[in-house]
């Protein structure tokens, strides 16, 4: 958390050049469901990505997905497919696209879009049940997406 915050400050404090390296949710470009470039302009960290993957208040990917590599995270769900071998099946860009907005790769999927800020029906203010105002903050930050993608890239069989 703290790290993200400081990183954010650093970006605004630095030159516009650095800030431009971060792609805002509304500017993301998909090609066949994939996103070619890093969203944060920085490489992801797989250890941090694991936290995003397993923490309810972050990605909570484990709510729907199991994987042998993540077997130490308790109570994986079965709503989504097991993710073993996703790094063999998908490229880095495709994984980034799936995490940012899976509905582009998988039409109508139940998987939430983690880097999207508007176009919702009755958007709420996180989990309060109160109304939220679009654009909402994306569920995951650009760096958290990169981190979880870096983690997914370790899912090899």
């Amino acid at each position: 958390m703290k790290r993200q915050f400081m990183l954010g400050m650093a970006i605004s404090a630095f030159s516009a050049g650095v800030a431009m390296a971060q792609v805002a949710p509304e500017n993301v470009e998909f090609a066949d469901g994939a996103i070619a470039q890093s969203l944060s302009g920085t490489a992801g960290n797989a250890d941090d990505g694991k936290k995003v993957f397993g923490t309810a208040g972050l990605g909570n990917c484990v709510a729907c997905h199991a994987a042998v590599i993540a077997a130490d995270i308790p109570f994986p769900g079965t709503v989504g497919p097991a993710l073993d071998g996703v790094a063999d099946r998908w490229s880095e860009g495709e994984l980034r696209g799936i995490v940012a907005n899976a509905k582009i790769m998988f039409d109508g999927t139940i998987m939430p879009s983690f880097y999207k800020t508007s176009g919702y029906i009755r958007p709420g203010d996180a989990y309060t049940g109160k109304a939220g105002t679009e654009p909402l903050p994306p569920i995951l930050s650009a760096q958290q997406i990169e981190d979880v993608v870096a983690y997914l890239l370790t899912f090899k069989e």
Binding site: A56, N60, V62, A63, C64, A66, A71, D72, P74, F75, P76, G77, T78, V79, K103, I110, P112, S113, K116, Y120, I121, R122, P123, G124, D125, A126, Y127, T128, G129, K130, A131, G132, L136, I139
Partner: protein, 286 residues
């Protein structure tokens, strides 16, 4: 330190066990609910009006673990039964400016037998969707000169428990035609709308994924025949609409209010998805 390690180790084995059990038996448990020697219908052919969306209707009871199911099968172990007794005290208690209790007009609570199985329903006179909570508050305000109980007031859930209990075992048979038709349609639309930042509808979880686990929760069909539900996690009773609030909130959406037109229509629709399942009286869930 030491103790913690042991606990963690235990937890780890439990988790592994569960993960395997979860994968192998994501199916609802094949079991029969018998209370006091009487079998309660917890499975029924999917209602025809659902056009096959639910091949079989199943009570949430089938999706709970062995201990929770056993607790509901024995009225002495069912913590919800205490509230039925409390409801009876309220039934007989005079309240309001008219000096009346429920018993003054209805005599015993048995007079309410059958009501739970056919509600929510559309009131002929007002054209409004009425569930038991709204009937109770209507009596309080228009006939007793008492104040309406709040949406989450324990008095209201106690009374719901008492009245639902009178219909235990009766099969849900909520009307969807005639005056109910427009509310059915509205409820259905809400049921399939993907709300909130997670863009999930009721159907995403309770039609497309019942039997699956979402984290440690074994997803049921989200049926309402068991309500009020005693939730072990909250140690209190919950109404159907109280549950809806939590489910909508979990989609990162702005919830609807209890008693709103939207939730009334949704409750009617969801109840109709369980037509053929028995009223459980007061059920136990985690």
């Amino acid at each position: 330190m030491k103790q913690r390690t042991i606990k963690t180790a235990l937890a780890a084995t439990a988790v592994l066990g569960l993960a395997f059990a979860g994968m192998a038996s994501a199916e609802p448990v094949d079991d029969t609910l018998v209370i006091d020697g009487v079998e309660i219908v917890t499975k029924a052919a999917g209602a025809a009006h659902l056009d096959g969306a639910l091949p079989e209707a199943m009570s949430g009871w089938h999706f709970r673990d062995t201990e929770t199911r056993a607790m509901q099968a024995d009225d002495f172990d069912n913590p919800g039964m205490i509230y039925v007794d409390r409801g009876l005290d309220l039934w007989n208690a005079v309240d309001g400016t008219e000096g009346k209790s429920c018993a003054s007009c209805h005599e015993g609570p048995e007079a309410m037998a059958g009501l739970r199985a056919v509600t929510p329903r559309v009131d002929e006179k007002t054209g409004k969707v009425m569930n038991i909570e709204s009937y109770v508050n209507d009596c309080r305000t228009t006939r007793m000169g008492a104040e309406a109980w709040g949406d989450k007031a324990v008095e209201l859930t106690d009374m719901l428990a008492l009245i639902s209990f009178q219909s235990r075992g009766e099969l849900m048979n909520v009307a969807i035609d005639g005056a109910a038709a427009p509310f059915y349609e509205k409820g259905k639309e809400i049921y399939y709308t993907r709300f909130g930042q997670l863009e999930l509808s009721c159907a995403s979880c309770h039609e497309d994924n019942y039997g699956n686990y979402i984290r440690s929760d074994h997803l049921s069909q989200g049926q309402t025949n068991g309500f009020p539900v005693y939730r072990l996690k909250d140690a209190k009773l919950t109404t159907p609409q109280g549950r809806f609030v939590g489910c909508v909130r979990d989609t990162r959406a702005e919830t609807f209010k209890i008693g709103s037109d939207e939730f009334n229509a949704l409750e009617l629709y969801v109840a109709s998805r369980g037509n053929g399942l028995a009223v459980e009286g007061v059920s136990v869930r985690n």
